[in-house]
């Protein structure tokens, strides 16, 4: 039996093509059964995420099965350039291991893909479309994926501004369940950053925006509360993290304002995240002892460094994959 893989992903196809191949989580088993029918193959698994859809087949004549599959899918790519990539035998196994390890992801080293592939495999297994070949190769790919993540630092460090902010907040406050967050300005960047903090357990979110209705909207989305923009200083004494991203042409938080609430705050640590350009928070705020001030450049630099560190790990990850594949195919 030969293993083959046919797929489209973010590197080979735009979203308007990828969406034609997308399969919902609940329909993965059914998609796998359709795949077997289309390719006339005994084993098949369909993986579908927002960035990729991949079809894995095990057949006596892999190349022929792939041709049948391509013919079956031809209608979906009508009017677009060739979007497919194809892998056979060892190449297909290697590709699967890379996918599971996050090496082929848009966000290098991301961990979500591991669970998504596992879910796809389980759905196919439950639908009865896997056999000895795919069971063996998928299970091996999961153990390789785990090994890559534990033996390298491919998933370490945050690669987005929101996650860098979360990482720093956790370094200051530990668990965020006791931390209150104030968002100044209800723009997209502050929404994403606040969402990242909430997803890691931040206790509550308070939103202040010049347009109060927008603040109410964002607060509702975050299950927090909105305050009038002029009242942000009163709230400052209770919060631990401030995310500021207003469109103001001048700074809006100054050292004097923070000084005025220090006693009321009992000099607790305060994390200020300034993601506005021009900046919202005056530079001298960072000189106050208990204040940790990070602007967008600092956060972006940290994200860039994490990405660079991950890229350096690729070779190490590939060595692990090669070694394990050698053992599997020996």
């Amino acid at each position: 039996m030969e293993l083959v893989c046919l797929g489209v992903n973010h590197k080979t196809a735009p979203v308007e093509v990828r969406e034609r191949f997308a399969v919902g989580n609940t329909r993965l088993g059914e998609a796998a059964r359709n795949l077997l029918e289309m390719a006339c193959a005994p084993e098949g698994v369909v993986i579908s995420t927002c960035n990729r859809t991949e079809f894995y087949l095990a057949a006596e004549d892999g190349a022929a099965a792939m041709v049948r599959l391509e013919q079956g899918l031809a209608e979906k790519v009508h009017g677009h350039e060739e979007p497919f990539y194809r892998y056979e035998r060892k190449e297909a196994a290697r590709h699967l291991c890379k996918v599971v390890s996050g090496l082929d992801s848009m966000l290098l080293g991301e961990t979500e893909i591991f669970g998504q592939v596992k879910q796809a495999y389980q759905a196919a297994h439950a639908a009865g479309t896997t056999g000895s070949v795919l069971n063996r190769i998928f299970q091996k790919s999961f153990s390789i994926g785990k090994k890559v993540r534990t033996q390298t630092t491919i998933q370490e460090g945050s690669t987005s501004i929101g996650n860098v902010a979360v990482e720093l907040a956790e370094k200051i406050f530990g668990h965020l369940k006791d931390s209150e967050v104030m968002v100044l300005g209800a723009g997209e960047m502050s929404r994403l950053t606040a969402q990242a903090l909430v997803s890691r357990g931040a206790k509550s979110v308070i939103v202040a925006n010049r347009t109060h209705d927008r603040a109410i909207e964002l607060a509702a989305e975050m299950k927090g509360r909105a305050v009038r923009f002029d009242d942000w200083l009163e709230v400052l004494k209770d919060v631990d993290v401030v995310i500021s991203s207003t469109g103001a042409p001048h700074t809006i938080i100054h050292a004097a304002e923070i000084e005025s609430v220090r006693r009321a705050r009992k000099f607790r640590p305060l994390f200020l995240i300034d993601i506005a350009v021009p900046r919202d928070i005056a530079h001298d705020c960072g000189e106050i002892e208990e204040v940790y001030l990070y602007d967008i450049d600092a956060l972006e630099q940290m994200a860039d460094e994490a990405r660079a560190r991950r890229v350096k790990q690729i070779e190490e990850c590939e060595k692990i994959i090669e070694g394990e594949l050698e053992k599997l195919l020996r």
Partner: protein, 256 residues
């Protein structure tokens, strides 16, 4: 034999510290530090047992003995606090202080190989010595946590966020909570030690001088905690206060 136990404890602490630092440089956590420190503790107990037999009382009569007891107390509190609060790095910071105290005791002339047997012991006298040194163990560990906070605070302020040390240091808030708890524990023990010191019989003027200094140190810690509780203190001032008071009190006791 007591000296050999002490040498072994010092070597084990040195291994714990150096190994921990090397692992840290590679960006990993030193999971074995706690086990090395358990080894240190066992050797210290061996030393204290033999020395106690020789003295016929708690071995706290010379600067060497006090140093070792302090190192034992510091190790004890690390083993109690470190794993509970998952502050694995605390061991890497504690081990060098243990080495320092024990190395001081190993200096020529600091530990009499044939110590004088103590005949006239009193309950209050023994309580004073033991509780005071135990208190200093907790206060020393608080100072270690204070140093860890100062390192992390500096890194966060200056945005020097690379390297294993930053990655493995516990969060600011956890360090401050541990620091405060250790100071409370140290203060309670020190209070018992000071009260026992006042109640113990004093035959010389030097004895009372020692008690006055102890009351002064106790007052310093009470003031630090009171300000923290009532008015509030920045983490940096609180940590600096804990480190400064510990170093100052050690210095004072070395000369009084």
């Amino acid at each position: 034999m007591d000296r050999w136990f002490l040498i072994a404890a010092t070597l084990l602490a040195a291994v714990a510290g150096v190994r921990g630092l090397l692992i840290l440089r590679h960006g990993q956590k030193s999971h074995w530090t706690v086990y090395w420190m358990v080894g240190v503790m066992l050797c210290q107990i061996g030393y204290l047992g033999i020395r106690g037999e020789m003295r016929g009382a708690c071995p706290l009569r010379s600067i060497g003995e006090i140093s070792v007891f302090l190192a034992w107390s510091l190790t004890l509190f690390y083993l109690l606090v470190g794993p509970v609060y998952r502050i694995s790095l605390l061991g890497v910071f504690t081990a060098p202080v243990v080495v320092l105290f024990q190395a001081l005791a190993l200096l020529p002339g600091k530990l009499d190989p044939n110590p004088e047997r103590i005949i006239n012991t009193t309950f209050w006298g023994e309580t004073h010595s033991a509780m005071s040194v135990l208190a200093y163990g907790a206060l020393a560990l608080a100072a270690v946590a204070g140093v860890m906070f100062l390192v992390l605070d500096h890194q966060l302020k200056e945005q020097h966020l690379k390297g294993g040390l930053f990655r493995n240091l516990p969060p600011v808030r956890e360090l401050l909570v541990s620091l405060e708890r250790l100071l409370w524990l140290g203060m309670v023990l020190l209070t018992v030690g000071v009260v026992a010191g006042i109640l113990m019989p004093h035959e010389t003027e030097g004895g009372w001088k020692h008690v006055f200094v102890a009351v002064g140190v106790w007052g310093g810690y009470v003031a630090l905690m009171a300000v923290k509780r009532v008015r509030g203190l920045t983490g940096r001032k609180f940590a600096l206060g804990a480190v400064a008071l510990f170093v100052l009190s050690l210095g004072v006791f070395a000369f009084v």
